[in-house]
């Protein structure tokens, strides 16, 4: 049984109100009304009175972990987190961008979120496909059980089956369409570098112009920077104005990292991010 969006909204408002009144947190990150029903916006509540503008429906798909790094270190923040978003916050804690006791997790068990552009239900084809948050201080609805658990990496099967020429042609076509608006980078909770490597001019890693080799360097390096850190929330693909299926590449890298290093991103606070860690007995086979 899954609790309706309405009941989650009520719980969210109640909980946010309590937290703000008690002064436990200075800010609550949730969702507010957008220019119409299908387009809610991330919303920041600072006073108990702001809680009234909060809303929660099937289009509240944004990953609010993105905004945590924007506030000075140590501000007490409550954040409404769905399953994937929760893993993003855990990964930020792993990387010591925020401290565990500065964040209040308002967990939202969720099923049936919709992508406003296409109207389809968001599922494990474009995200991690998890329903219940991994970690939460308050749960705003009943845990979702009984849903079919589909591995988030099944969607890769036919891309991995492609031969490399076809796969190269596919990715070249996709990356050539990129207009370098960097929405994917800004939407990603793990991409908090400002300036990013691609903005640097000394060294010039990739050209600024939206030609294929500049786009290729930007995207491939970003995939590498997110290896073992990407929590597969799908925000980058949804933010892309030209709908480049970035989630495919991120899923592939996440799958390889899980197989090679035996650790999925953002699953527990005590893990260390995979690429700043090593095991002396890592097998050399991963290099073949």
């Amino acid at each position: 049984m899954t609790s309706s969006f309405k009941s989650i909204e009520e719980n969210l408002k109640a909980e946010a109100g309590k937290l703000l009144e008690s002064g436990r947190v200075e800010i609550v990150l949730a969702y507010g009304r957008g220019y119409d029903e299908n387009h809610p916006m991330p919303f920041v509540a600072k006073h108990p009175s702001d809680v009234a503008n909060m809303v929660f429906n099937e289009y509240c798909i944004h990953n609010l972990a993105r905004y945590l790094v924007r506030y000075p270190r140590g501000t007490k923040i409550a954040v409404a987190v769905k399953a994937a978003d929760c893993r993003a916050v855990i990964q930020l804690i792993q990387e010591e961008k925020i401290k565990r006791d500065d964040v209040v997790f308002l967990g939202i068990p969720v099923y049936g979120m919709k992508n406003p552009k296409t109207g389809e239900i968001i599922d494990s084809k474009t995200t991690c496909g998890m329903y219940n948050p991994v970690l939460y201080d308050v749960l705003l609805g009943e845990e979702v059980h009984g849903q079919k658990i589909v591995s988030p990496y099944d969607v890769l099967a036919d891309y991995e089956a492609m031969d490399k020429e076809a796969r190269w042609a596919f990715w070249k076509k996709e990356f050539d369409r990129c207009i370098r608006c960097y929405a994917c980078r800004k939407a990603c909770p793990m991409c908090y570098c400002d300036p990013c490597f691609i903005d640097q001019s000394k060294p010039r890693w990739g050209d600024k112009s939206p030609q294929s080799h500049g786009n290729l360097m930007y995207h491939l390096t970003r995939f590498h920077h997110l290896a073992g850190r990407c929590i597969d929330c799908g925000e980058c693909s949804r933010a892309c104005p030209v709908d480049i299926p970035l989630y495919l590449f991120h899923k592939k890298v996440a799958k390889e990292c899980e197989e090679m290093f035996g650790q999925a991103a953002g699953m527990s606070i005590d893990d260390k991010p995979a690429l700043v860690n090593f095991r002396v007995d890592d097998s050399d086979k991963i290099l073949e």
Binding site: K97, F197, K202, P203, W205
Partner: protein, 649 residues
Amino acid sequence: MSRIGVFVCHCGLNIAKTVRVSELAQFAATLPDVVVAKDYKFMCSTPGQEMIANDIKQHKLDRIIVTACSPLMHEQTFRKVLAASGLNQYLLTIVNIREQVSWVTHDIEEGTAKAKALLNGAVYRARLLAPLTSRVIDVNPDVMVIGAGIAGIQAALELANTGKKVYLVEKNSTIGGHMAQFDKTFPTLDCSACILTPKMDSILQHKNITMLTSCEVSEVKGFVGNFDITIRQKARYVDHGKCNACLACTEKCPGKGVSEWDEGLVKRKAIYIPFPQAVPQKPVIDRDSCTFFKKGKCRLCEKVCEQKAIDFDQQDTFIQVKAGAVILATGYDLMDTKPLIQYGYGKYPGVYNALEVERLFNSAGPTGGKVTMRDGREPQAIAVLHCIGSRDKNNSEHCSRVCCMYSLKFAHLFKEKTSADVYQFYIDMRAAGKGYEEFYNRIIGEDVKFIRGKGARVAQSPDEEGRLIVEAEDTITGKFIKVPVDMVVLSPAMVPRADSRDIARLFNLSTDKQGFFMERHPKLAPLSTMSEGIFIAGVCQSPKDIPDTVAQANGAAAEALTIVVKDKMELEATTAMVNPASCCACQNCVRVCPYGAPFFNESKGVSEINEALCKGCGLCASVCPSSAIIARHFTNDQVLAEMEGLMEF
């Protein structure tokens, strides 16, 4: 725009044979920013070097490319040439066209083409070279030696004699370490105290040495040249300043404590000095056995002490010590043989371990040098069992190197002091040191019985009361042998101190499986460690005998001296630095650096790099997502430019 000078070397025929050097020079002249392009027979020769120096002045060159042999050969030579002619020594790039081109091909076309590509890469890189000045930090001249066994004492004396101030830190209440417990030392059988106490005394008298006994290291901060170490001075309840070592208190004291120094064979007073020649020869009070601390009354020693040196409410104090280098000589312990139930140590009183027997022989020991067993009898038959816990997968896989020799010494001393038959149960007699084999032959001559077979079991003799049976297989005859003896001596494995891993963590060292400190390189750098400025000597690195320990102590003293002899220290120039504008505070660099050079500046919210600790490997530069870290001399754009140049043709 840079003004690059390219100098191609023939190296006699070594290069010229398979690379058209003049054509290479002409090719260089055509490249952008190249102002001078010459080739010469021997660039590394004096005329060759002068040619470079002159061209620098004459053409006002600001980048030099030497196309010759491997940078590992002559990079330093040509750097000196640049420095001599007023150009920053890092504005130099070496192109290796000998080891990696001319010597590995016979095809002159292929060789020349590759040389051109490598040269082109060097030109791209040379344009982006930046002058680097290595920072100089001042060095604290003092040295700290931790552990005052023979290793620590020897190192401290060597350093103090050069005029350096030395802090000698010892956990026990006296210096001397295990060697002070011995009676004789192999192979010369000279008395351990006779060769050690003079050194202990000169430590006491030496104006440059500050002796810190009953002290432990509690915290280590800083880096090579500028260590800031906190020492915990454990409370001794005796003010050593006032005490004139009349030792009246030790006679009156009713307290009874187990004497660690005598390996528990005998009791000692609560206020005591471990052994007569102890340095400092001033007593300390052991809380656990002092009746005042236990029951709140007595204070006899206080009444008796004319100097009023007794102070029961003394507390642990902390001493801050600054040092330029640190030598660890923390020594070893013998393995606890109680878990090896087959030998019955701790169960049968007739079973002793090596250190206990050393105390028996020692004239200052519990029995005044007489070999009498715990029940007062003089043993008629004694068995010495080798390799107890050593060379054993289930305990310590290493060979402890010295037990064969001290077992032979025991045999000699037993023969000399008693009329007992002595058996040695051994696997291999390892007598490889100077004079060792001769000592072994001498002992064989003294009618000691050698049984080639590891002792398998020690059991109580069923018929003779108080006697033990050593069971083993004499592998030479293949017979099962049961030897009735009165006394069994075990030669246990030498293992690192129980707290060796904590000390390693304090000084950022790694330890091997057993817990011995890891040297930087087993063959070429056995005394230095991965942490710059921290040196190791003696058994804390691996089991060894006294001659090797002393040699290592001298070596470690010399290496420490190389740091503290200069009051300034030049840091490597090719270290890394953080550009704060681009740092996104992800702290990847802090997590990966093996030397702990980067640290997170909480107030500024960015990472910074302590250039004294940085070794210039560049790991942090490659894990930095926003490439905010500049690895000097191997910056991102220098490497990218070189790659671009290499791939152009």
